[in-house]
């Protein structure tokens, strides 16, 4: 591998990693920090992409469709938490698995009912449609750089909120002992509703931002779901920093494995995870 190709692949890996973090960010919040096992996370990613596509074809404005999609996702999040998730806080964690698998079924059915099963795509917003030449054959699209920047900003914002603000502390405290948080006079239910909804919205926003880069197809959510869990767990539950590092690690390892070790490429991420967990049984950045 030449040096220039090495750097290009490194950039590819970083970019893939950042995208992974974007998709996993909502899960880090809902699963890592709040401790809710939401398997329907991938479905919300899919819903976000479809919403973006749907409103884009109707409004022709990427920004507008992004905003509408985010608002809809937020409302779905609030609704789901209020009516369903809330019933399960006092129960076994596995009930959340069952519930959210039920939700995957429902989201898949609704997607097929509302939007059909054809692959869809939307074009990159004009403002960001340029590209920057890297070598004489290869160039890099501006939109992807834009998304990478958003991911970094998002990571910083999440990190700050969870670790440094009172809100973040309350969310963490809720994961540890809901009853006690309530005993401090805090409306933990409402707090959890909001944070859960934000998690869902982040998943959808990831879908929106990915929409111009990926094919929007049924089942796209299930493909990313496992990758998201891998990222959150390798990083260490509840650690934003961990998730960020893990996403980049997975992105880079996966990218290089694809070209250097094609025979075991699909296994490499799992080998990585197994090794990390055997050495650090609670992930990279756990207490």
């Amino acid at each position: 591998m030449t040096t220039s190709l090495f750097f290009i692949q490194l950039i590819n890996g970083l970019q893939y990693g950042l995208l992974l973090f974007l998709i996993a960010s909502g899960l880090t919040l809902v699963f890592g920090v709040m401790g809710i096992l939401n398997l329907a996370h991938g479905s919300m990613y899919m819903v976000g992409a479809y919403l973006a596509w749907y409103f884009f074809t109707h409004t022709d404005s990427f920004l507008l469709s992004a905003i509408i999609s985010a608002v809809i996702a937020l409302s779905i999040g609030i609704l789901v938490e209020r009516t369903l998730i809330r019933q399960l806080y006092h129960r076994n964690h596995l009930d959340q698995v069952l519930l959210t698998i039920g939700m995957i079924f429902v989201f898949n059915a609704l997607q097929s009912l509302l939007w059909g099963n054809d692959p869809q795509g939307i074009k990159v917003p004009d403002l960001l449609s340029g590209s920057i030449p890297l070598t004489d054959t290869l160039s890099y699209p501006v939109y992807r750089i834009f998304v990478a920047v958003i991911c970094i900003l998002l990571a910083a914002a999440l990190y700050y909120t969870i670790n440094k603000t009172r809100l973040g502390m309350l969310i963490r405290a809720g994961e540890s002992n809901r009853e006690m948080v309530e005993c401090l006079g805090i409306n933990i239910s409402r707090l959890y509703t909001i944070v859960f909804a934000i998690g869902v919205m982040l998943a959808a926003i990831a879908g929106v931002l990915s929409a111009p880069m990926v094919s929007i197809v049924p089942g796209m959510g299930e493909h990313v779901l496992i990758a998201c869990f891998v990222v959150v767990v390798i990083g260490g539950m509840g650690s934003i920093k961990g998730a960020f590092v893990a996403a980049l690690l997975v992105g880079i390892v996966d990218t290089f494995a694809a070209v250097l070790l094609p025979s075991i490429a699909s296994m490499v991420v799992y080998i990585l995870m197994a090794l990390i967990l055997l050495v650090k049984p609670k992930g990279l950045f756990s207490n």
């Binding site: 369903l84 019933q87 399960l88 129960r91 076994n92 596995l94 009930d95 698995v97 069952l98 519930l99 698998i101 039920g102 939700m103 995957i104 079924f105 429902v106 989201f107 898949n108 059915a109 609704l110 097929s112 009912l113 496992i226 869990f229 891998v230 767990v233 539950m237 025979s263 075991i264 699909s266 296994m267 799992y270 080998i271 995870m273 197994a274 967990l277 055997l278 049984p281 609670k282 992930g283």
Partner: protein
């Protein structure tokens, strides 16, 4: 008594006699008999998962790995064009998968909770991709087994596996044995420690038990039985496919288990039947069966606190 709860006895007295007579009602309709056989096989698989999850508190998302391995091991070790003995190969498959489980368990049981879920998933995915990216095992299209084993034991031929009804009884027989087997284990002194390791592993260590060894033993037992289920499945249609090892298979089994009620062992049967029943029903009702299936699952989680088995127990409690 082995079956302590009233609900349990009731279930066993209704379920097994009913299933014994089922082929009579079905009047040799091959489809229904085959369908029931595959449900029984899967119930056996879910039961072995229940032992791990519900009894040992070891949640895994990689149990399907053994389900698939059951099939692939058979494909690998059995000669291509010679019918082998069923019981001998049952033994081989259980031993080989137990050996694999011993190594895998040795690694995965170092972690716990969500980390264990993920590491079991990781190892299962490795096996999944090993088979699905391989050329010699037919890749994602899987492989075929052209000959079914024969089942003579001490010179007596008990089941003719090409006959769906015989195969059905073999499955039922296996399921019943597995149920009794798990019940005996759980009521035993070993079971007492298993219960302890689930509830409070830290305390159990402080009392002087090597928690790891007990978990490992349980993991090996459950995995061998999971592989046995996969072996039966691959034999039913003579067909092994990597999707048997996929995390979706593990997930589905987990869903059935939670639906049926964890930790009760017989709940596994209830859950499998309920899930498959709903699936079959909605699928024939509408093309958008997923919508109904999903809603039914959601409703059931919300309404049933401890799965179907828990619900039945509550009903009986109220009446007495």
């Amino acid at each position: 008594m082995l079956f302590q709860k009233r609900s349990e006895r009731l279930f066993i007295w209704i379920f097994f006699p009913l299933m014994l007579m089922m082929p009579l009602f079905l009047d040799g309709n091959i489809f229904y008999i085959n369908k029931l056989s595959s449900i029984l096989i899967f119930a056996l698989f879910v039961m072995s998962l229940d032992y791990l999850v519900g009894r040992c508190g070891l949640i895994t998302l990689g149990h399907a790995m053994f389900y698939g391995l059951g099939g692939y091991i058979f494909y690998i070790i059995a000669p291509q064009n010679e019918a082998v003995n069923f019981w001998v190969y049952t033994f081989y498959i259980c031993v080989i998968s137990a050996a694999i489980a011993l190594i895998v368990g040795f690694l995965v049981l170092r972690t716990s909770g969500i980390y264990m879920i993920m590491i079991t998933l990781a190892i299962a995915q490795m096996f999944f991709y090993y088979f699905s990216d391989s050329m010699e095992f037919g890749g994602i299209d899987g492989v075929f087994l052209y000959l079914k084993p024969e089942t003579s034991f001490l010179g007596i031929k008990m089941f003719d596996l090409d006959n769906p009804t015989h195969f059905y009884y073999l499955c039922l027989f296996s399921l019943f044995n597995t149920l009794v087997f798990f019940k005996v284990i759980m009521a035993s002194k070993f079971g007492r420690v298993v219960d302890a390791t689930r509830e409070n592993p830290e305390r159990t260590t402080a009392l002087g038990y090597n928690v790891f060894v007990f978990r490992l033993a349980s993991y090996v037992i459950a995995s061998a039985l999971g592989a046995y289920a996969g072996y039966l499945f691959s034999m039913q249609y003579g067909f092994v496919n990597p999707s048997m090892l996929s995390w979706q298979t593990s997930g589905t089994a987990l869903v059935m288990l939670i639906l049926g009620g964890m930790g009760s062992i017989y709940g596994a049967i209830l859950g499998t039947f309920a899930y498959e029943g709903l699936h079959y029903f909605f699928e024939h009702l509408t093309e958008h069966w997923m919508l109904f299936m999903g809603s039914a699952i959601i409703l059931m989680v919300i309404l049933l606190k401890k799965g179907i088995a828990g619900y039945i127990e509550k009903l009986l409690e109220k009446r007495s």
